[in-house]
């Protein structure tokens, strides 16, 4: 059911019941906040899991009587069990990738701001939007339930490679009921994301207000749009693969399991499948997923850099082109996750060459961000600091990809901590910096109150130093050859220099996690007590800033008419240093009209 543009004068009322207004809401802003809240809940779980992993890595022989009281089987006798460690790895990865990195930037900020930024009153399909959130929420409950079933949480890694993921509890605790729940959760998540993606595309293409041509859309909208295309094309493949895996496990099919397997002396009754098939399907989704996590961060960064540099974005069209190029190339490089898988080595060469070409649009983005800052009058708000941090992390995490994209270097570095350091910098921390930037930037609009800037800045500086202290040394550990997903590496003599770094990383990780308390306190305190935000506290140009904070139900009292591009800052001869998109045409000095 599409909501068409309403008549120009219109006084919509929100539903009066609490449930329809705040729980089962079809209002894109409420749904955006629900997604954002879900991501915060999920990040708390994911962070806790990583803290437990870091304890084990720094103190492989440690005993933890207190933890044994909470995790009775995981810490039986006060010592962390190896299977518990692997389940932490698995659940940390799954929860972070799906329920944080995919939900907050896209479902959260995208839902809230995409319709507003294009001048729409809601998403194209509000009921579908509501459904997409609730399906995702149920998916989250299902993955959390995996902790509590017999055998505990799954231990197949977030990539769930078969046969380990296909054979049930015979290959390890957690691979029984826990693994089934993992697959069901991911399949549900795929359904939710598909509904969301469809909505984003229909809304962007069909619901733009008068004057909002494609060439006047903010880069945030372009980023969400590109992300939605990626989600629409990649999630169905993961869902299909997940269903096949579920059938292999429970219905006796053999898509991923070959003949002749013997586990713990027992013959496995499967034949004809291929473990590599799963890897192809998984990474056909998995690589675009990396961009699903990071593209919205790029959009937010572009937006925020321009606002607080008080300059137009450098190379607007090139930035859109680069978004599309990264998204498109992202579908042709999945094989770089599989150089060592046994895949045809000639194919690996093709994947390697394609992978390194992604460096080209990525470099273009970096150039243009620095170009945007060149000649700027930078205002160092917390949002701006996080956007600048994003650029730094994007450069660091992007460049280390140059090692891993090469077949020959991957012979040594594949599945080592170098990989862990690389992807955490780029798709983990950079993406999270994008979310922090978005939160500090949009919180005043979403909740009508400012976050505390002083606390925000302390939060930023400590987090920036913290994340580099965690993930840079991991590259060194990888160079020493330390494999990832190791419960304990102390029996390997050649890994001595890498082991010595674990304690430092753990201290950095626990400190950085503690620093996040500042952020949560800031959120809670400012939500109730922060200074009131006006309509346009940042003196920005896009449509969300023409309305009260928080925005009224259905956003616009009258449909806005757009006359200007999204990045008209510091136009010579203009009255102020920014021209809002809805300002009358003559706000633009005659010499600069196009």
């Amino acid at each position: 059911m599409a909501v068409q543009h309403q008549p120009a004068v219109h006084h919509p009322e929100p539903p009066s019941g609490f449930l329809r207004r705040w729980v089962f809401s079809t209002d894109h802003k409420v749904i955006g906040i629900q997604y954002w809240g879900l991501a915060i809940l999920a990040v708390l779980v994911g962070m806790t899991l990583s803290a437990l992993m870091r304890l084990q890595l720094a103190f492989p022989t440690g005993t933890w009587p207190t933890l044994a009281k909470i995790f009775k089987t995981g810490f039986a006798g006060g010592v962390m069990a190896p299977e518990f460690y692997i389940s932490l790895v698995t659940m940390h990865g799954t929860i972070m990738v799906f329920y944080v990195l995919t939900t907050a930037p896209m479902g959260g900020f995208g839902n809230y701001f995409l319709p507003i930024q294009i001048g729409a009153r809601d998403m194209a399909f509000p009921r579908l939007n509501m459904m997409s959130f609730w399906v995702t929420f149920v998916a989250f409950l299902v993955i959390i339930a995996a902790f509590f079933v017999e055998g505990g949480a799954p231990m197949g890694g977030w990539t769930a490679y078969p046969p380990l993921s296909a054979l049930g509890s015979i290959v390890g605790p957690g691979q029984g009921a826990g693994m089934n729940l993992w697959i069901i959760s991911i399949a549900l998540f795929c359904i939710g994301s598909l509904m969301g993606a469809l909505n984003f595309l229909a809304t962007t293409l069909g619901m733009r207000t008068q004057g909002m041509s494609l060439g006047r859309m903010p880069l945030t909208v372009w980023a969400w749009f590109t992300t939605a295309v990626l989600a629409l094309l990649s999630f169905p493949v993961l869902m299909g693969a997940g269903i096949l895996l579920l059938l292999d496990r429970n219905a006796g099919t053999s898509f991923f399991v070959p003949e002749g397997l013997v586990v713990s002396g027992k013959m496995i009754d499967h034949k004809g499948g291929s473990p590599l098939l799963w890897q192809h399907l998984f990474w056909f989704f998995g690589h675009p997923e990396v961009y699903i996590a990071i593209l919205p961060g790029m959009g937010a960064t572009s937006q925020i850099l321009s606002v607080f540099a008080r300059k137009p974005i450098f190379g607007y069209r090139a930035m859109i082109g680069a978004l599309f190029a990264i998204g498109l190339l992202g579908f042709f490089v999945w094989g770089h996750h599989m150089f060592m898988s046994g895949m045809n080595p000639t194919t690996a060469i093709a994947f390697s060459l394609l992978t390194l070409t992604i460096g080209v649009p990525s470099a273009m983005k970096t150039f243009n961000w620095i170009g945007t800052l060149w000649g700027a009058q930078i205002r160092f708000t917390t949002a701006m600091l996080f956007a600048l941090g994003f650029v730094s992390l994007f450069v660091s995490g992007g460049l280390t990809g140059l090692f891993l994209g090469q077949t020959s270097i991957d012979l040594f570095l594949h599945d080592t901590y170098f990989v862990v350091g690389h992807f955490h910098l780029i798709m983990g921390v950079a993406a999270i910096f994008g979310m922090f930037a978005g939160t500090y930037y949009w919180f005043p609009k979403m909740f009508g109150r400012h976050l505390n800037e002083k606390i925000g800045k302390v939060h930023f500086f400590l987090t920036l130093v913290g994340v580099y202290c965690i993930f840079m040394p991991m590259h060194a550990q990888g160079m020493f050859g330390h494999p990832r997903r190791y419960y304990d590496s102390t029996s390997y003599a050649f890994l001595k220099p890498a082991q010595d770094m674990h304690l430092f990383i753990t201290i950095a990780a626990l400190s950085t996690i503690s620093v996040q308390i500042l952020f949560f306190i800031n959120l809670l305190w400012s939500w109730k007590k922060g200074p009131r935000a006006g309509k346009n506290p940042w003196e920005a140009t896009t449509l969300e800033w023409i309305m009260e904070s928080p925005p009224p139900f259905e956003n616009f009292h009258a449909d806005p008419v757009v006359h200007h591009g999204p990045y008209e800052y510091s136009v010579p001869g203009a009255k102020s240093d920014y021209i809002m998109q809805t300002d009358p045409p003559d706000a633009m000095p005659a010499g600069h009209r196009s």
Partner: protein, 263 residues
Amino acid sequence: MGPLLAILIWGITLWSVIITARANGGMPHRISDAANQINAQFFTTLVVVAIAFVLAQGLLGWVILRYRGRAGQRASYNHGNQLVEVGGTAVVGVVFVILAILGQRVWANLHLGAANPNAVAIEITGEQFAWNIRYPGPDGVFGRTMPALYDAISNPVGLDPKDAAGLDDIVTLNTLAVPVNQPVELRLGSKDVLHSFFLPNLWIKQDTVPGMRIPLRFTAREAGDYELLCAELCGLGHYRMKGALRVLPADQYAAWLVETKGP
């Protein structure tokens, strides 16, 4: 705020370069020509990345420091410069693609060359959580195996007693002995789940996949005892799927085979 952030970014950059340079000196000792070639490619990439890293972070710090806002002043107004965008991106593109092409040589040598008929053939079969290692014995032919015959103690690789070629096969656990300076061709497989066969001193790894036999070649140039480990998550004992690589002079290797075969 600007100076603090700029100095921090430069400081992090310097620190990253230092720890990476130090790690570069501590990478596993290399005992093959291929390892040296991989290392050379790694080092070339390290230099290129270090230059790009320092330039990009340095520039980022500089613009943050240089373009701090001052009250009442307006920023410069421009929407971009195609020459800078296209030119800069083209340079990066050319460097990256050259790097990618250079990086394929070692890979092609390792995986695409013709098999050496004189290579010492050894079969590796991973299982949770050990490495079964099989030599063809004096006849140079591996005997037939059948999964149905697997027995953890008496027949770990499932040798078929009806096949005469298998009678002299030598089967051992977790210790891979190879002769120094002789080409070796491993045939990697797995009984149960994925594993990855990782020899850090040869700088190579290869997943072992049930249902497949994947070749992996190397020539070890330096006798000694080295470590062997699993690099693909295979279950709760993944971290302790440890083995040993013994690179032996020819005579000691021959003696080791006889001794391992037993009576």
